[in-house]
């Protein structure tokens, strides 16, 4: 695919990295020469120094032939103009990143008036992600495949099932369970495990399998978490506000801590059922005063990673049930688990995952992006003359790329977690786990 990305900041860089590792043709347009140099030195993409909202520049670059144009610069207005220009020049699909509430709230109107395909806000997506986690505590990511019959759940292992030598996957999830452990992430190392692999406490594992068999398997890895009722949110920035808005009608109580009085007033005007408190969320006294120990979930959402992380550690120390931190610098995300924080959410990963879904939409009916884009789970509808039809899995093994695995097959209404002797038939829906660099090869097979 021919993809243009305007803006080489956090979001743009991250997207460019993932897309180029998936063998797409990526061009990054960025105004700041030092950023251009950084992108140029670290990624296999072409770079252009210039203003992405300039129609002359976009025309000369041939944006009209682009399959996807993403404007992810820092300024909303630049993004809107650039995306509308690209669409006008003939780019197939355009996406603009926006953050200001005016654009986020009326995104559908703006999309239709400006002729854009998507307006996406990293902050709003982050809030949605956190809300999902609060609804299903302990589950880091979830996605449904095969008309809802196949589920994917990513969880952090709280307790290890089995004892001693019985800890291998073969014993925990023997074939026939109907659920499979697809991906294991331990301290940032990601593997697609074999039967002899072991699971340890603190691992992040991805389970895929039959909807009805999922719950008992999940329970083997998870502690029992009651549904949260009291939530504390630190920071009334755009993530905090979005989150409070989403949660305030569902939960018993939502408390929003914000240090700036003016922002507190604005938040209080916007939110009807939330307790807005003008307090510093990193102050022990303030947290104790607000009875943090009663909180089931503490979420820190400011723009400052260090404050978010430290506040979460402090809240945990003072007795909060679960802690969630927004981490903008993704290099910090894997460290967060080590500090005892339950979940870290990275805004740029949220938006990147949405865009990746779009990139794969043509061939793939549904998709989940894990671990910053290094692993993807895709659902293919096997139709027509796909090369895999009628072959047994162990026979296509040699052609099947390393780092990819058929996790589940939906045939009619039955879900199969296949072994080597199962074959793929026309009409099946197949769920495949694939590392980023094997995606290309996998797509060719189906």
């Amino acid at each position: 695919m021919n993809i243009f990305i305007a803006g080489g900041g956090r979001v743009g860089f991250h997207l460019a990295r993932i897309l180029s590792s998936e063998n797409h043709d990526v061009t990054v347009i960025e105004r700041d020469p030092t950023r251009v140099e950084h992108v140029d030195n670290s990624l296999d993409v072409s770079t252009v120094t210039g203003n992405a909202s300039s129609v002359m520049l976009l025309r000369d670059l041939g944006v009209g032939n682009a399959d996807l144009f993403v404007s992810a610069a820092g300024s909303d207005e630049v993004n809107l103009v650039a995306a509308a220009t690209a669409k006008g020049l003939g780019a197939k699909r355009v996406v603009a990143r926006v953050d200001r509430p005016v654009y986020v709230e009326s995104n559908i109107l703006y999309e239709s008036i400006l002729g854009l395909d998507y307006l996406l806000s990293p902050n709003a997506l982050t809030a949605v992600e956190i809300a999902k986690y609060i609804d299903n505590p302990g589950i880091v990511a979830m996605e449904d495949f095969g008309r809802g019959l196949i589920q994917m759940r990513q969880v952090r292992v709280a307790k290890t099932p089995g004892q001693g030598r019985k800890k291998t996957l073969k014993n925990i999830c023997p074939p026939g369970t109907g659920v499979l452990v697809g991906v294991v992430s331990r301290n940032g190392d990601i593997t697609i495990p074999h039967g002899d692999a072991t699971i340890e406490q603190g691992d992040l594992i991805t389970l895929i399998g039959h909807r009805e068999r999922m719950a008992p398997v999940l329970q083997r890895f998870q502690g029992t978490d009651p549904k949260p009722r009291n939530v504390f949110i630190m920071g009334a920035g755009s993530i905090g506000l979005h989150l409070a808005q989403t949660l305030e009608n569902r939960l018993r109580s939502v408390t929003l801590l914000e240090i700036n009085l003016k922002r507190c007033n604005d938040a209080a005007a916007l939110l009807k059922r939330t307790n807005v408190v003008c307090q510093d969320g990193t102050s022990r006294l303030a947290l104790e005063e607000e009875q943090i120990a009663k909180a089931d979930v503490f979420v820190s959402t400011t723009n400052d990673d260090e404050r978010n992380i430290m506040a979460s550690v402090l809240a945990k120390e003072l007795g909060a049930g679960q802690t969630v931190a927004v981490v903008h610098q993704p290099d910090f995300a894997p460290l967060v688990a080590k500090l005892g924080i339950d979940h870290a959410v990275t805004p740029r990963a949220c938006i990147a995952n949405r865009i990746l879904t779009m990139v794969h939409q043509e061939r793939v009916s549904s998709l989940a992006v894990l671990e910053e884009g290094s692993v993807e789970i895709l659902e293919f509808a096997v139709r027509g003359a796909a090369p895999v039809i009628g072959k047994r899995l162990k026979d296509i093994q040699p052609k099947f790329p390393q780092g990819a695995l058929v996790a589940a097959i939906l045939r009619g209404d039955t879900v199969l977690v296949p072994g080597g002797d199962d074959e793929i038939l026309a009409g099946d829906d197949v769920v495949v786990i694939a590392a980023a660099d094997s995606l290309d090869a996998v797509q060719k097979l189906f």
Partner: protein, 496 residues
Amino acid sequence: MNYLLVVKYLGHFAGAIGLLMLPSAAWAVYFKEWPELGAFLGAIAVSVGVGALLGLAGRRAPAKMYQREALGLVGLSWLVAAGLGALPYVFGGALNYVDAYFECMSGFTTTGSTVVVDIEATAKSILFWRSFTHWLGGMGIIVLFIAVLPYLGAGGKQMFKSESPGPDPRGLRPRIKDTASILYKIYLGMTVAETLALRLAGLTWYEAMCQTFGTLATGGFSTSQRSIAGFESLFVEIIIIVFMVLAGGNFALYFAMLRRDWKAPLRDTEWRVYAGILVVCTLLITLNLMGVAAGSFPGEQPAHEATRYGFGNALRYGSFQVVSIMTTTGFCTDDFDVWPYFSRALLVVLMFVGGCAGSTGGGVKVVRVVMLLKMAYARLESTFRPKSVRAIRISGVVVDEGVQKTVYAFFVLYLLWFAGGTLLMSALGLPFQTAVTSVAATLNNIGPGLEHVGAIRDYHLIPYVGKVFLSLCMVLGRLELVSVLVLFVPAFWARR
């Protein structure tokens, strides 16, 4: 420095060099040169063996390549390539190792300086390898590596930049692998075209291929003792002139033309200056060869009397030599060592100008010369109009401060190396003209110089120290200093 990674990729690279000897081995079979076939098979075995050992030693290397590894890898690869590529000459008994290293480095760097005294007595398969090294080095061995092996990623881009000539190499396509393969496709297309043209002009397939390699890489090795003069055909000369001019131009322009942007060269400042210099210098030398301004110093022997030409011959020999030297090819059709002083001096100046950025030519590159002149003029103007601010433009695009500084630094280092090299060669006992032009001809990847290293002579009489030094000059010139010079900076190798 991630040593293991460098070792691993050097291993792959060494193996690849070994496999690239296979076509030459095939010619040895064709010409029934059995001792040479043995030499090639031995060299292939050694290269693949070395490659396997290095690959094995580096198999646990961490995958991430940073700028430093990429830079080091480029410089080392070229040294290794010449080291292994020299083996067929040695095993075939043609040359000793130092001579063979010189010859092979001269091949890969598309210089064309030779130590082979009697070319026509040398085995044809060996001569094919000699020309084939030109072809590989012309577009770049690393670029070939990138085009074929996809796993280098962003590191591959760094390597591409260090190997491609010019002040600011850019990719033609977003992914560097695609850029590399497009460049090679254009190169291959031109190779086929020239081979066919030369075949039609009456050369054998073997001769046509070898001259083509020498032309398109702007190399200069020929299969004939008298270089292109040996074919005594005006047609051959015209074909070779045309393809030398093409090879000395920026390949990115040909890519633009393939995409139906026919006027791309006309809009390009560098191409216009390049073409302009070729035309003007051809005219000047033609006039000079016809006797204009061809006087001599009182009391000196007028050496050029014998070569006073009529217009036709003056144009024929003048244009060929101008194009050959300016594009840094180094083919000859006439012994320019006996030309008038002005012509000889002009050729030495042209040696330094060289081809265009993004071409297979060597030298300082036309675009850098244009930039330097514009920058110098702006400086001069600022002395009497200190408040005026002026942007330096090339093809309408402003050249930023960083690139300008790099170009200055490059030029200063280049001249310093040239001056130092001349001193060293003089200390080895070479006469002044020979010392100057031997360094100029190798550093700029031309081939023949003047006097004892002139058009009809060769480099075999230069002392061994000199040969090793000149080999270094060649690779420095081909890789434009940086990626070779860093290998000599201790901090570059620090483990830390």
